[in-house]
């Protein structure tokens, strides 16, 4: 919203209006219900749902969490109630709030992705689809597509045909292949990119010689991955002319501004929600303070500023 002093936090992403540039990352906010006990969902710029699959999915065996220095490993493994209940219970509940919802769509095959994305679009209750082709915690469907730009582009093209709402594609960091993959999915019809998903990672209990996670491997999130995420945003936003939602270890207002300056049109808070459910309203307020201090009136004034200043 526009404050008295002319600071305007609003942003527009692929035609979707956000009150502020802070969304909440998929999987770190449930589907809003639990968090709504502590935070007003209307204060969020946008909400990305937990991954939903066509069929209910029990998820991975515990333990599913392990903390590392300034980071966290998880192997939740897409635990969810399945499409039917999500569409009947969660999405209508979320639509009571004045917050655009990105539905995170995951699948175990291309057919599942397409079928599911179409159902989300048809529900009329989602602002956008976030195609999750980067989950490190499931074998097929997850990392499979994001490691293969051509297959990824084919999938995006098929989904694009069946959805009438903006389509964001969520990618992991792809050292050396970020630009190529971003270009491929952009050409296939993506309306935006979500960067980044967690990094494949693992930890070992050396006392007992066994993995810390029941699934053996998992995904790393939190401040430890933030510079990797800034780099991914930098590479992708330099390659394609699509809005990029930057995410990965955002823990402070300046972490968010870093993403914006590197080229993100908006940002999403992930693991921090698990520590502070009220992080988004707090960071939005801090961002307004930062903008006032530095003389930026609108968020787009900061977006991609590094390149506009001649870097890279």
């Amino acid at each position: 919203m526009e404050a008295d002093d002319g600071i305007d936090l609003r942003v527009e992403l692929a035609g979707i209006s956000l009150k502020n540039p802070f969304l909440v990352c998929s999987g770190t906010f449930g589907n809003g219900r639990e968090m709504s006990e502590l935070v007003d969902l209307n204060a969020l710029g946008g909400l990305m749902t937990k991954a939903v699959t066509l069929e209910p999915c029990p998820g991975n065996p515990p333990p599913r969490l392990w903390e590392t220095p300034s980071g966290m490993l998880n192997s939740i493994g897409l635990e969810n109630k399945g499409l039917e209940r999500f569409l009947a219970e969660d999405l209508p509940w979320l639509s009571r709030f004045d917050v655009p919802v990105w539905v995170n769509v995951a699948g175990f095959s291309a057919r599942e992705y397409v079928e599911w994305a179409e159902a989300v679009s048809r529900s009329g209750l989602a602002a956008a689809v976030e195609l999750n082709i980067s989950c490190p915690n499931v074998e097929k469907g997850g990392a499979f597509f994001s490691r293969r730009p051509r297959e990824a582009a084919e999938l995006v093209a098929r989904v694009r045909e069946v959805v009438d709402i903006p389509l964001f594609v969520k990618l992991p960091p792809l050292p050396g292949a970020m630009r190529e993959t971003a270009l491929a999915v952009a050409e296939a019809g993506a309306d935006g990119l979500s960067l980044i998903n967690t990094l494949p990672a693992m930890a070992v209990d050396v006392e007992r010689c066994r993995p810390r996670l029941g699934n053996v491997t998992g995904g790393l999130s939190g401040p430890a991955i933030h510079p990797v995420a800034v780099h991914a945003v930098w590479e992708a936003s330099g390659a394609v002319d699509l809005p990029v939602i930057g995410m990965g270890g955002i823990w402070s207002c300046s972490d968010a501004v870093e993403m914006l300056m590197a080229g993100a049109a908006a940002v999403a808070v992930g693991t921090l929600n698990l520590v502070d459910p009220r992080a988004v309203p707090r960071l939005a307020e801090e961002l307004a303070g930062f903008m006032r201090w530095k003389g930026y009136r609108r968020v787009p004034d900061m977006v991609g500023l590094l390149r506009r200043r001649g870097w890279g």
Binding site: G30, L65, V275
Partner: protein, 262 residues
């Protein structure tokens, strides 16, 4: 009650061997049930996730947690001093069901005594007859805490090294007259202890048992699904320890799968 997010001032700390009771001020709205926990930010140093601790005491505007040092976060917390501030989310989770009548047997393994002491106080207030059985490694492990709890409860101790009370685990303290027909059982401790207890009570005895489980947690609110325990309902499915628990009726959990992850 819905959870609160608040900052609490530390009023006092009492050291008991390997553990410390950290006592802090809480607001009027804070009314935890026995078995519920508070989620505390335990300093920086690369630690980003909150740490869960059962409520050990709550009276008027004062509450406490009993912290056993096992790593960096607990080391930080048990060194707080009067005047320090804590960043807390809570109370969280489902607590013990106090409505059952009969005699109450509370079985604690190690630091599992924290929620059970609080439960014991509430059951006693309701006129229940409470016996607290507590197993630990050695008699001096928890300093003078056994004496202190011994003044409040009918307390029996077992030690692994036999240096105090009965030698063995807390299960050695179960007497033949403590039967599921006449007694209600409440337990908190290592998973191996809980599994052994379910075997001892056998399937017929499970309805009389409530357990509080320990799982690593992140959000503590049921949002991330990181803290799951195997459930009987929906074969292969899970319940969230932080929201559906940490207290469960023993019948709700799949003990075969619980055993696999010891």
């Amino acid at each position: 009650m819905p959870p609160l997010a608040f900052r609490a001032t530390v009023l006092e700390r009492r050291d008991y061997g390997c553990a410390s009771e950290v006592i802090f001020r809480v607001g009027d709205g804070f009314s935890p049930l026995p078995g519920q926990f508070v989620h505390i930010l335990c300093g920086g140093g690369g630690r980003i996730i909150r740490r869960p601790f059962s409520v050990f005491r709550h009276e008027g505007g004062i509450a406490s947690v009993l912290v056993r040092e096992v790593g960096g976060g607990t080391a930080w917390l048990r060194r707080r001093r009067r005047g320090d501030e804590l960043d807390i989310l809570g109370p969280l989770g489902r607590g013990f069901d106090l409505t059952g009548g009969g005699e109450h047997v509370l079985l604690a393994g190690g630091i599992g005594v924290a929620p059970l002491a609080y439960l014991g106080r509430r059951l006693t207030e309701r006129g229940g007859k409470v016996t607290l059985l507590w197993g630990m490694e050695k008699g001096t492990e928890y300093g003078s805490l056994p004496e202190s709890l011994g003044e409040e409860f009918d307390l029996h101790i077992a030690t692994a090294d036999g240096s105090r009370g009965k030698e063995g685990t807390v299960l050695e303290l179960l007497s033949p007259e403590m039967t599921p027909g006449t007694h209600l059982f409440y337990a908190c401790g290592p998973r191996s202890m809980l599994v052994a207890l379910t075997e001892r009570l056998s399937t017929a005895g499970l309805p009389s048992l409530q357990v509080s489980v320990e799982e690593r947690m992140a959000c503590g609110l049921g949002a991330c699904r990181g803290c799951t325990v195997p459930a009987v309902e929906h074969p292969g499915g899970y319940l969230a320890a932080c929201r559906d628990g940490p207290v469960f009726r023993a019948e709700e959990l799949d003990w075969k799968r619980m055993m696999e992850s010891i």
